[in-house]
Structures are given as C-alpha cells and as structure tokens.
Assembly symmetry: C2
Homo-oligomer: 247 residues x 2
C-alpha cells in the first residue's frame, strides 16, 4: 500500500516544455493525469470491490453530497467572474445540471434515500467530516478568487468522470444487492453530462492556454483539483480505518 | 485506537443553555474544549513519545510552517475587517509576534534548519500536503469572510497553546538528542506570547458574546478551529502511516 506516496503525494513539478504542445499533445498530457484520479484511491477501490458495509457507503454518500452541493456554487462563482456572455450562456448548463429538479443534487439525494438515509441528514451535513469541508471549500474559494479561465481549467477532472460512473454501474450491483436499480440514476445521468461538460471545458482550455508556461499551469491546476477529490477520500479512509493504526 | 471517532469526529451539537453563562462559567465551557485540542491527536502523541524519525519530524515542521505562515495573513484579514482603532492597536501585536525579525516565523524556520532542512525547502512549501493547505486556507478564508469579532473568537485555541509548547520543551529533549538547545526557541517564546494573546482574545469574547445563542456559537467556532489543527495532523498521520492499512 504505497499508493499514497507514489501517487498523489509525489510532489513532482510539472515540467514546462520547451515549445507549446499542439492541441492533440496537450489533450494527451491532460489525459495522462488519469493516474492521479481518485478512482485509484484505496477508499474508492474498497467501495468498487464490494468490501464496504452499508454504513460506510452511507457515510461516503453524505460526505460526497457536500462536494455535490459545492459544485453549482462553484459554477455560479465562475459565472459571476465571467464578463463574456457567450461563455456564460454555455457554462450555465453546469449549474442547471446539478440544480434542475429531479437531476443532479436530487438524484444524489435519491441515492442516499434509497440506501436508508433521511433527506434531512443528507441536507444538514451532520455526517460531513471537517477535512471534507476544507477540501470542497478550497475548490469553491479557488473558483471564486481566480480568473474564470483558470477556474474553468480546474473543472477538467470531469475528463475522467464518465469512467468512474461506468465502473460503479458495472461493479456495484454485483456486490451491493440491497441497492435497487433506481439508485444508479445519478451515475447514469452523469455519463453523458460529464462528456458534454468535458467537451466544452476542453475546447476552451485548448483555445485559451497556448504557451508552454500556460499549459504547464493548466496541468498544475488539474492536479490541484485532483488533490481535492483525493482528499475527500483520504478523510473517509482515515475516519473509517484509523483505528487499525497504532493498535 | 478509537480516539478519532470519540474525539474530534463525535458530531456532538453544542447545546444552547437556557440562560447566559456568567464570565467564569463561559471561560470554563471554553476550557472544557481542551479534550478536542490536537495535543490529543495520535500524531502529536507519537512525536511527544519520542517515536518519530528525524524524517517524520522534518515533515511535521514543513507542514506546520504552512500553518505558521497563514497566521499573520489571517490576523491581517481580521485587522482589515475591523473598524475599531483601539482593537486594531491591540490586535496588530498578533501579526508582529509572527512577522518580527528573529521571532515567530524566523524562530520556526530556525527550528527546521536546526534539524537539517534548508531554508528554501521550508519556504517554498514543497513538502506541504494538499490537505494541510486546505485546512489552513479554510482558517484564513473564515477570518477573511467573517465579522472580526467572530474571527477573533476562532483564535481561542490559543487558550490551549502554552501547554503543548511546555510539553514539547519537557519531553522532546529526552527523546530527540540530535535537536540542540536553540531549536526550542519558538516553543519557549510562544509560552508567554500565547498567554498574552489568550488574555486579550478572551476578554473581548467575554465582552462581546453574552446571549446563550452567541455563547454556543463561540463554542462551535472554537471547535471549527480545533478541527483545522486536528486535520493538519490527520494528513500527516495518513501520509506517514497509510501503508500499514490494507497491507
């Protein structure tokens, strides 16, 4: 279990290339960050391998809901910093995808309810760990305090999102039979939405960031966002498994 | 090792008393939060019990430096939100305590250098874990975005700081003989400064927060600040000991 040190916490500096990458090369560099995506976190593997108790999955759903709830506020901050109407017209879809009735946040809440949680205990964040709040709030504050182009670059972990949802849809039913079919609504709806959000954000990032310095900065920003997703699982992992350290 | 679940992560709600506490009772309620102070975190115990390698103490010093560096920016945010000159005249000492030459941050950097770190690797944050940044930044953002009275209440973990420094001065030399006498300068200087900072903050908090609701809110704010200190050690703990989980 050397994953932590070799993966996220390897403090590798992003190397500034001696010339600009063309769009294909730049996309390849972004895709190469997949190894740092939280699908490789031991807590996600633990969920994916069917080892989690109902209590642990419930905890994940409640903590992850804090992240979900941050997203439309983060995208609203991007909108509020953006002086370009064309971009706002496109980007507002990211807010609607989570705030529309019966989509996004509602689908996530339904997931929680389908596994025995009450709406109230999901919405009031009573189960959310402090470190999860710190991580999600860091994402929100980054978007609020950055140029909207930089903030849009930070959304590019969406590049890797479809896969994690597909894997859940493929693996979870084998292990968690007590989860009924409609529990998977959020994961299903996100596959196509994440694809669209990715296409929009990626086209902007390719257009806006051309120099080797800017492109290296985009890579660093995506790493920062990956750190946030990773940190959410770190906190869950420590909370649920810490007692086996120093036993 | 049930400390995590029983201590920080016990999501107990602060009970609003049916009448206001008098100053002595209110101070007692604040003092009663000592059980949540990070002196009880297993990572701090690990350092205190002399079990840490030089590499692990260096890592703690580098990560904790990020917190130290946040403090004068946090206090500057409080100053910038404060429209009362008398309070600013007193509170500016908190900035000076960390930014004055040969004090505060300089003493901490000297601690790092005395254990074999370079000034550069301390200052550039290369060893700082993402979750440590998220926690410290949460403290800074809280101070920046809150009424200055609320932000000053959040500083009251200083109430417990003298003790942790005294314990380090008493325990570390027994275990870490490679640390020379002058390494302890920061801990020594903080004992008296923390006492003064505590007296100032506590007097204000007693004066400003009188109703049962306000007093319960102060308790919650101090808990939030304790969560930040605790989370810093969570991240170090997970980084250095995670490999023994799921082995």
């Amino acid at each position: 279990m050397k994953l932590f040190k070799n993966n996220l916490y390897k403090r590798e500096n992003t190397i500034i290339n001696d010339k600009s990458y063309n769009p294909e090369e730049f996309v390849e560099k972004i895709n190469n960050l997949e190894y740092r995506y939280h699908i490789h976190h031991p807590f996600d593997k633990y969920l994916m391998d069917g080892k989690a108790t109902k209590e642990i999955i419930q905890s994940w759903v409640c903590n992850r809901y804090y992240y979900q709830a941050t997203i439309p506020q983060k995208d609203s901050a991007i909108l509020s910093n953006c002086n370009n109407r064309d971009i706002r017209q496109k980007w507002i879809l990211n807010i609607l995808n989570h705030d529309n009735v019966d989509e996004g946040l509602d689908s996530w809440i339904d997931l929680g309810i389908s596994m025995g949680l009450t709406r109230e205990e999901i919405l009031d964040f009573r189960h959310v760990l402090p470190g999860v709040k710190f991580a999600c709030d860091a994402y929100y504050n980054f978007a609020k305090n950055s140029d909207y182009k930089i903030a849009i670059a930070s959304c590019l972990t969406v590049n890797f999102a479809s896969n994690i949802h597909k894997e859940r849809i493929n693996n979870w039913p084998k292990h968690y039979e007590w989860l009924d079919e409609k529990s998977y609504k959020y994961f299903r709806e996100r596959i196509s939405k994440a694809k669209h959000e990715k296409d929009v954000a990626l086209a902007y990032v390719i257009e806006w960031f051309k120099t080797p310095e800017e492109q290296a900065n985009v890579i660093d920003i995506i790493k920062f966002k990956q750190d946030i997703l990773w940190s959410i699982l770190d906190n869950l992992y420590l909370y649920h498994f810490s007692e086996i350290i120093f036993h």
